[in-house]
């Protein structure tokens, strides 16, 4: 290192440094000699020498210092340092002597320990040397004299020059304890290097000497020690016995308790979620974990069992199928070895699908309100609470020989008129089911209706193209006479020309039967209906191609008129409003309401059914029910909408007739399935409250004949009784 430095230095410096170097080398050489002597001397001291006189006090003092952990290197230096720097011969010798004694003593204790004891000349002990910084001395020697600091007037420059010039500068160390400078010898440097390398300090020491194995795997013939076993090894120990008996006594007395078995160790864990509030818990509960990837099966193996491999048909099928329909997204393949398995071509695709699964699939539990669907249905009152309504069949009116198309109850409720296909009109007493009168009219009767006016007793009968007005004379004499007077009427007002209706009076036998008037129509009459006052009646002649479908007749003046100029569709049935001058006309799909006074259409109701069969107007006049051939019954609230307020689909077959009760909140529908369904229909005066419609009773009794069941239905005017006429030639009364 020095050489290199030297090369680097400038020539002037070199010259200066040479001088210094010369000085130092002189000094070094001298020191070297001394050090080498001492070293040799030290080494010579190696052979063990026993029994040297030692002062105990010294030993104890220095053995304590030995523990202070100073380096052997430092010791070495100290030792050499002392040799070099101390001027007085005396001290030097004394040191030498002491050193030797120490080594000898060490040899005593540790035969193979070659480390030498540190050479201590300063007796201040192991104190920080800074304490002596301000003193001229640095401590005291063994004789108690001050060890003076070396006179050093070396400043930084000197130090630098020394560094430049002195080739031994690198091996010069400063002894703090004595304040002197020591130049290490080659051996010492070597020793330092060895120690730094972690090698043993002594060169001659062989670390790898063959070891003597005292204990080996080989079974020896002789024991390691031949010493016989002690007697005490055979005798139970009295001490132990005493100890055990003490313990037993303590256990018996309960002073010592056996270690408790911790059986509840599992119960005392820390409840991490104890302080968790329920909202977070519920959030966790809503969480759904990601779907797991299905584990690979045999068919994904590189060498699957042969049954997993595709046959030709399976492969063909797999290829034909749409990728989304395939059961497996790949074809199982067989390879002879794993080496031949190619790269996985679907890797990206599969990862992509997995990612889609993970983040596109909504993994959250739907907050579905668990409501019983029946709870959502508004609570309808029980039919039991809606009494009275007809429940059982009470009377059967037998006598007709063909199906009964129409029935009507007299306004007093005493008589029932029925018109049948056998060409008769029969009048029955309601309470006894006795046929009071049979009137031969000579044609299948389409409609019979009593005049709703209780002051007259008249019956309108529609058959073929004639409307007959009958006076059955089944009332008070005054009523009969008033109805006869009404029929006599103003005869001068003869038939109007444009309608084609011809009025004529009955004669002879017909007069005896009660037929009073005949109104001949140009076409077949389907229905006839009275106005509530009993003077007007309307007749329907369904004809799709003509505007002459409805005629309104005035009985007192024997006049007919056609209210409509234009054909608006096939008219099914008509009805008068019970109080106001309105006229309801039901065509196949809709109901039109006309104002007869203003002569204009006020409303058009869409029935939402294919073919209206029948219609009834609520006695209040604000509600209409329509039965249709497609099994429906639609309830219209005229104040609410032109669409049905409610559609009832209770019938299995076409609805033939509908009727309202005049007093009770009841309505009934008759159907081809042979049943009459009675519904409760309360109408409120409050405009905000919608009608309450509850089906209350299915009335059966009619026998199905020619696929026809019940043809007409009507209510008793005062009692909650319903009459139904059927294709089985009977009329039945349900009460």
């Amino acid at each position: 290192m020095d050489d290199r430095r030297g090369n680097v230095q400038s020539s002037e410096q070199k010259e200066e440094m040479k001088k210094v170097q010369e000085k130092t080398t002189k000094r070094r050489n001298k020191e070297k000699e001394e050090l080498g002597d001492e070293q040799i001397l030290n080494l010579n001291n190696e052979p063990p020498e026993e029994d040297e006189d030692l002062s105990d006090s010294e030993d104890s003092v220095y053995s304590g210092l030995e523990d202070s952990g100073s380096d052997s290197e430092e010791d070495e230096e100290d030792g050499s340092d002392g040799d070099v720097t101390v001027d007085s011969e005396q001290t030097h010798q004394a040191e030498e002597k002491k050193n030797m004694t120490e080594v000898k003593r060490k040899d005593d204790e540790y035969e193979h320990d070659s480390s030498d004891e540190e050479d201590i000349r300063n007796t201040v002990g192991n104190i920080p040397m800074e304490w002596y910084r301000d003193f001229p001395h640095i401590g005291y020697d063994l004789d108690g004299k001050k060890i003076y600091k070396p006179i050093r007037n070396k400043d930084e420059l000197d130090d630098f020059l020394d560094k430049m010039e002195n080739p031994d500068y690198w091996r010069t160390v400063h002894d703090n304890q004595t304040g002197s400078v020591i130049v290490l010898s080659d051996e010492q440097v070597e020793l330092v290097n060895r120690l730094q390398r972690g090698q043993f300090g002594d060169i001659n020491f062989n670390e790898y000497q063959p070891s003597v194995e005292y204990f080996s795997s080989d079974v020896m013939i002789h024991p390691v020690t031949n010493r016989p076993e002690d007697k005490r090894s055979f005798i139970p120990s009295l001490v132990e016995k005493e100890k055990v008996s003490k313990l037993v006594h303590a256990i018996k007395m309960g002073w010592i308790k056996p270690r408790r078995v911790e059986d509840n160790s599992r119960g005392t864990f820390y409840d991490l979620w104890a302080s968790e509030d329920s909202s977070i818990l519920s959030k966790h509960r809503m969480h759904l974990p990601a779907p797991k990837i299905p584990l690979p099966g045999h068919n994904e193996s590189y060498n699957p069992p042969p049954e997993y491999l595709f046959t030709d048909e399976e492969r063909a099928l797999w290829e034909q199928q749409d990728p989304s329909d395939r059961k497996l997204p790949y074809v199982p393949m067989k390879f002879s070895s794993l080496r031949q398995v190619p790269a996985f071509p679907r890797f990206i695709h599969e990862r992509f699908e997995r990612c889609l699964d993970l983040y596109l699939c909504p993994r959250q539990r739907k907050m579905r309100v668990n409501v019983n669907p029946e709870d959502l249905i508004p609570k309808l009152p029980k039919p039991k609470d809606l009494q009275p309504f007809p429940t059982v069949q009470s009377l059967v009116y037998r006598g007709h020989s063909s199906l009964i198309r129409s029935i009507s109850v007299s306004p007093s409720g005493q008589w029932l008129a029925s018109g049948s296909d056998d060409g008769t009109v029969r009048i029955w007493e309601v309470c006894s089911s006795r046929c009071m009168k049979t009137i031969q009219v000579g044609g299948a009767v389409k409609t019979v209706t009593w005049n709703p006016n209780p002051a007259v007793c008249l019956l309108a009968v529609a058959l073929n193209s004639v409307v007959l007005i009958l006076s059955p004379a089944l009332a008070d004499r005054q009523v009969v006479s008033s109805s006869e007077r009404l029929l006599l009427g103003d005869q001068e007002a003869e038939a109007a020309e444009d309608t084609g209706a011809v009025w004529s009076e009955a004669e002879g036998e017909e007069l005896n039967q009660g037929i009073r008037l005949k109104v001949h129509h140009p076409k077949a009459v389907h229905q006839v209906v009275w106005h509530a006052k009993g003077d007007y009646l309307a007749s329907v002649m369904p004809d799709n191609s003509s505007h002459l479908q409805v005629l309104i007749h005035q009985l007192s003046r024997r006049r007919s008129q056609n209210p409509f100029r234009r054909n608006k569709g096939l008219v099914q049935c008509v009805s008068f409003h019970p109080v106001r001058p309105y006229f309801f006309v039901a065509t196949q799909r809709s109901v039109r309401i006309y104002n007869l006074v203003k002569q204009e259409m006020t409303k058009k109701l869409q029935a939402n059914s294919k073919w209206i069969s029948s219609m009834a107007v609520h006695p209040g006049g604000d509600h209409v029910i329509c039965g249709s051939y497609d099994c429906r019954l639609s309830w219209f609230d005229l104040d609410l909408s032109t669409k049905p307020y409610k559609m009832l689909r209770h019938h299995k077959k076409a609805v033939r007739g509908v009727a309202y009760h005049r007093v009770y909140p009841l309505f009934a529908s008759a159907s081809d399935d042979g049943s009459v369904i009675v519904c409760h229909g309360t109408v409120y005066n409050d405009l905000l409250q919608n009608p309450l419609i509850v089906p209350v009773k299915v009335l059966r009794g009619h026998v199905m004949t020619h696929d026809l069941g019940v043809l007409d239905v009507t209510f008793h005017p005062t009692q909650p009784w319903v009459f139904s006429s059927g294709a089985d030639n009977t009329i039945r009364l349900f009460t």
């Binding site: 009494q387 009275p388 059982v392 009470s394 009377l395 007093s412 409720g413 005493q414 309470c431 006894s432 089911s433 006795r434 009071m436 009332a475 008070d476 004499r477 005054q478 009523v479 006479s481 005062t718 009692q719 009460t735």
Partner: protein
């Protein structure tokens, strides 16, 4: 509990048993009880009925139906005539005069050879006839006009001086039942049809003494509770009690179905009503609130068209129904009738008792049946 202690009592002295408690097997039925009593009495086989605390021990018993007797019976019919029948089954007399269906008939007086009877008809009139049983002649004495609807029911008062009629025109009218020789003036419009009517009229015209109005519907049945009280049932679901003196209404009993018939028993002072809801209800007409049903007898399957209390027995009543049955009831066993009489082939419209405890029933099969009810009973109290 296999043995019971029982004592047997009877009113019939023939069958009196010692008043000693007997130990009877608890499972024994009526036949066994009868045989026990037969053995006690050393009698031949006599069937007994047993009443336990006012209730019959069992109801079904073979029914003896005999037509036998002497007294006369009259019958209403739908062929515009009334007939007088002897109970032997022969029509004695046919009374023909009405222009329309006869709805009800009633005796006014049956003394000696001549008797008075009334017929109410759908032609809105009531005819009073005098029948001489010796000569078997009948003569129309009075034609009672005033109703404007068919007269459905008539009833004579206990004294036989008045009768009451109920009509479809919702009115009750009280007429004098005493035959007289002068005709009352008709207050009606004396115009043209009067002349015609007069020619057709049988007997002298009579007008009502009093008109009671209050019913909202047709009056279906009327009867006299006593001489001053009329009870009427109507289709307006009410039974009303009227005071004849004042013509005012005293009590209203409200049901919820149409009443077809009522009957009053002076023995037990109860009213029985038959209505269209197939039940027979018993009422106390003296209650003021009028909504109290004492008992309801339900076994019929059709409208109950007629009920009638037994004239001599305070617990028995008979009912007719549209289900072709006549039932005999005892109010002490309200669950089931004593007897079902299945004689009619069609609807039964009326029933009545004769004075000699015969049962009569008429129906839509145009037959009038007479039954004798053999009432041999042994009352047993336990």
């Amino acid at each position: 509990m296999s043995q019971l202690q029982a004592r047997f009592f009877t009113e019939n002295k023939r069958y009196v048993v010692d008043d000693v408690p007997f130990s009877i097997p608890a499972a024994s039925e009526v036949e066994e009880l009868s045989s026990v009593i037969n053995q006690l009495l050393l009698a031949k086989d006599v069937d007994f009925d047993f009443l336990v605390r006012g209730q019959f021990l069992r109801t079904p018993l073979s029914f003896h139906m005999e037509t036998e007797g002497i007294s006369t019976v009259r019958h209403r019919s739908y062929d515009k005539t009334a007939r007088i029948w002897s109970v032997e089954g022969k029509p004695v007399m046919t009374v023909a005069g009405h222009t329309d269906v006869v709805k009800d008939v009633a005796w006014v007086k049956r003394e000696g050879l001549t008797s008075l009877l009334l017929t109410a008809s759908l032609d809105q009139t009531i005819l009073m006839w005098e029948w001489n049983s010796e000569r078997n002649k009948v003569k129309a004495r009075h034609c009672c006009r005033g109703h404007t609807g068919s007269v459905d029911t008539i009833a004579t008062d206990p004294t036989g001086s008045k009768f009451c009629s109920g009509s479809w025109d919702k009115m009750l009218k009280i007429w004098s039942a005493v035959p007289s020789d002068e005709a009352d003036e008709v207050e009606g419009p004396p115009d043209r049809p009067r002349k015609k009517q007069k020619t057709q009229q049988l007997g002298l015209t009579r007008t009502p003494i009093m008109t009671l109005s209050g019913h909202n519907e047709a009056v279906s049945s009327v009867l006299w509770c006593d001489t001053e009280e009329i009870c009427s049932a109507s289709w307006d679901h009410t039974i009303r009690v009227w005071d004849v003196e004042t013509g005012g209404m005293k009590t209203t009993l409200t049901g919820n179905k149409v009443f077809n018939s009522i009957s009053y028993s002076p023995l037990c002072r109860r009213l029985a009503s038959g209505s269209t809801d197939r039940h027979i209800r018993l009422w106390d007409p003296r209650t003021k609130d009028g909504s109290l049903v004492l008992l309801s007898l339900s076994s019929h399957t059709g409208w109950v068209t007629a009920v009638k209390w037994a004239p001599a027995h305070e617990h028995q009543l008979v009912s007719a129904s549209l289900d072709n049955l006549v039932k005999l009831w005892d109010t002490r066993s309200c669950k089931a009738p004593l007897y079902d009489v299945a004689a009619h082939e069609d609807k039964v419209f009326c029933v009545d008792w004769t004075e000699s405890a015969l049962l009569l029933s008429g129906g839509a099969d145009n037959k009038l049946y007479t039954y004798r009810y053999s009432a041999c009973q042994t009352d047993a109290g336990a």
